[in-house]
Amino acid sequence: MPNEKIIYIEDQQGSIETFTRALRRLYGKEYLIEAIKPLSSLPETLDRILSAGDAVAFFLDEKLSLSGEANFHGTDLAEAIREFDYKVPVYILTSYSSEIDPLNENVEYILDKNDFGYPDRRHKIAKRLLRHVNTFKEIKNKRSHRFDQLLKKSLTEGLTTQEQQEYENLNFLRVKRVLATEEAPSLEQENNLIEREKIIETISKKIKEIKG
């Protein structure tokens, strides 16, 4: 069973069903396909997808605000994802490819949903994307290998200034995802915390009462 994920962000139920099936048909053997509906704000959505697990690629619908749940577009989300990972493949999946600037700097390709309905075009898309994903995985492996190497060296003989810089960069990529979740706690999480605090307070009161 594969454990690496391809994440698909879409707000329309009909499209979720259709294109999750199509993506599963293309990549289901190697990767888990997970469809996620956008939450109302960009930071919340980013938080949700970064905490979904180890993603090797993202497919983003462009018109995420159509159903009125979210107030941002797929290209906005792509820009936010780029802040966190410079190299992960990101694709826009849309029925209106002509309305998006094909030179958008944050995504690999703008894919037209209609192309998924033709066997030959779908085949080409699949090959192209697998190549991206594999390259990305190699980069990830290299990153973690190099990190381990530097970590060992730092423990035994210490790092040069240049190595120290590289080490910090790699470490940043490792911890940034965690930071993202910490930086932007969702309203729900905050409420949870407040609730727990209250419970602890009542318990401590009761303990005091018992003691008193």
Partner: protein, 755 residues
Amino acid sequence: MKRKLISKKPFEFSARVTLQLGRESISSSTAAISELVKNSYDADAANVNVNFHLKEHSTSSLVITDDGWGMSSEDLLSDWLRVGTEKKKSLELSKSGRRVLTGAKGLGRLGIDRLCKRLVLYTKTKDSPTATLLTINWREYEKEDRNISDVEHEVYEVELPIIDKYGKVFLSDEDHGTRLLLVGLKDRWDKKFLNDLENELRLLVSPFRSNNDFSIRVSTFSENENTTEKLGSEDLLDFSSWTVSASVSSQSQVSIELKDNKRNEIHKLDYYWEEWIKDSKIKHNFGPVRFSFYYIPQDNAKLNSVNFKRTDFQQFMRLNRGVRIYRDNFRVRPYGEPTGRGDWLDLGYRKASSPGGIAQGGWRIAPNQILGAVEISRRTNSPLNDQANREGILQNDAFLSLRTFVLKVIDEFETKAHKVAASHKAQSDSEQLKSLHLESQKHLNEASTSLHSSISTLYEDTISKDKKKILKKQIDEFEKAQKRQRKTEREYYESLKREKELLEDQKNTLSNLASLGILTVCFGHEIRQHTSQALTDSLEIWDVMNDAIQTPLLPVDHDECLRISESIQRNISYIEKFSSLALSNIKPDKRKRKRVNIPKVFRYVFDLMSSSFNAMDIDYNVLISTGSEANYNALAFEIDWESIAINLITNSMWALEKIDSSKRFIEVEFSDETDNTILISFRDSGVGLEAGSEESIFLPMKSSKRDRAGNVTGTGMGLAIVKSHIENHSSGKLTATASSSLGGAEFNFRIPRAK
């Protein structure tokens, strides 16, 4: 035939040729100085000083100093002393790439002979430890029997500092530029002559003063008085047809003043940013800004009236056109420069996409008709930071919003200026012509009757029989001719009437086609989402079947197959609905004007769009406020009303996409305005119209659909066609309100009732 070579010789030029060349190519002393100042402009100088030292009884001199690049001794020898170098011809921009070259011929230096007897030139490039000195005694050229190459000029390398009686020339390595000292002026430079010179030089200076643009200072030092003046070209702004000044305050208050200089009328517009630019992504996040511009079309009559040469004016516009940005009175480059990113508003592109004249719809200002300045400050506009490479302002959100602001002000101006121009355009009114024709016919009849009666009186009395016969014959002929004339006139009139009917018919067909066009665009857009799902799902079914054939033992997920089939069914049926609407409109009976029940049309279209409404969570309501639904009929083409409904609804969907899904609502209300007039109000809870656009949205090519950089993205044809259907074909009236009781836009149709 025998021949032998005697010698090989080139043409020799008499030294005087040089003087003739200079005199013939440069028409006057003012033009000669102007050419020298242009050389400074081309050398990217920021400051040029033109100092006259005038003496009544001894030699006068002129010093022209600039802080341009200067020349090295190699440049001086290879370029400056070589007449007719091609350098300026092949280059179009100055060394910094910021200026369009002005001096074209490379002959300017020969004009110096016209001005003075002797030239002393100092020039120096930056960081060079020495300067170069060249002296020319023009009299050497006047001597008889001298060849051009016999006249030699001494060139010296001079050590710093260089100071003479006209002041400091170069003091340190840092200094650069060129100083020309013209000794022994030949002309008498009186007030009038100096004034002519200043007027000529003014054209090289931008009307917007700043601390780092090109500036020229003319000073005169004479026995009686010393004067100095920094030249400006502000006076040229009097040529503008319109003056526009706009600002956005730190409280996001937008105010625009459009001044029509021809009619001396001022139009003022005031808005809040959020109601003026409805796209919530485009925020006023760049601080308070002032933007002013002048619309200066070339007006030959006006130019002649002030004795201005057309070519001078064109040069002035070429050097100063565009919209520049000034930060704390310093020009920020490249904005407003002639090349590439200098046209930061894409004025050239806008004009090229809509090249019509000002009285035509969709008119756009041309880049060579606008002189504009945006004023910003480091203190109050901190988001508008410079790029690290100093090549302009960071292309961030604030900059893009500023660009949108500027473009929208230009847009407001274009709408107003077009409206004024169109309303003053002389109109040929066929009704007026008809009454003129009837009147002249009446005059003709009267003249003919009176002629007839006066001749009859003559006829009675004095004339001989033969003459009477001739007269009678002539009168008969005249009357016959008059009859024939009336007959052909009637025939001509009838044929015009038939032609008009034919045109009317063609206009209707074209208008139907326009409606069909709107339908196609709206639905084409809607349909893509459905085709992509239907296609992808059908391929999935094909894959499932293939799997089942290849591995018969693998169980088929029947429920999944049913779900896929349902999805295909749902999406295809949507496409079917549209195709049947499009086809039914091609039927001839739909293309006839008949009684159309408008509420029914709206209900039909709402139903057609239901799946999109569901996806977007939009609620709608058809409200009959007075009387019965069956009474809301209009004499119209059904397709026109279908396209009106679809156009309004798709516009609403666009406006609702930016609103929270719990608040998405569309309403059409039908009420009786009078017995004979139906009022239809179409409103939604979307973002509403941009304030002040209530009239302009109906103009062709106007659209408020903008991308992030403020460029208009909609076709801008939809509402123009709707308006034409209502007002030209249905004798109705269509108006818009920026925000309605539901919060979004409202459109009010007043149309005659069909009973």
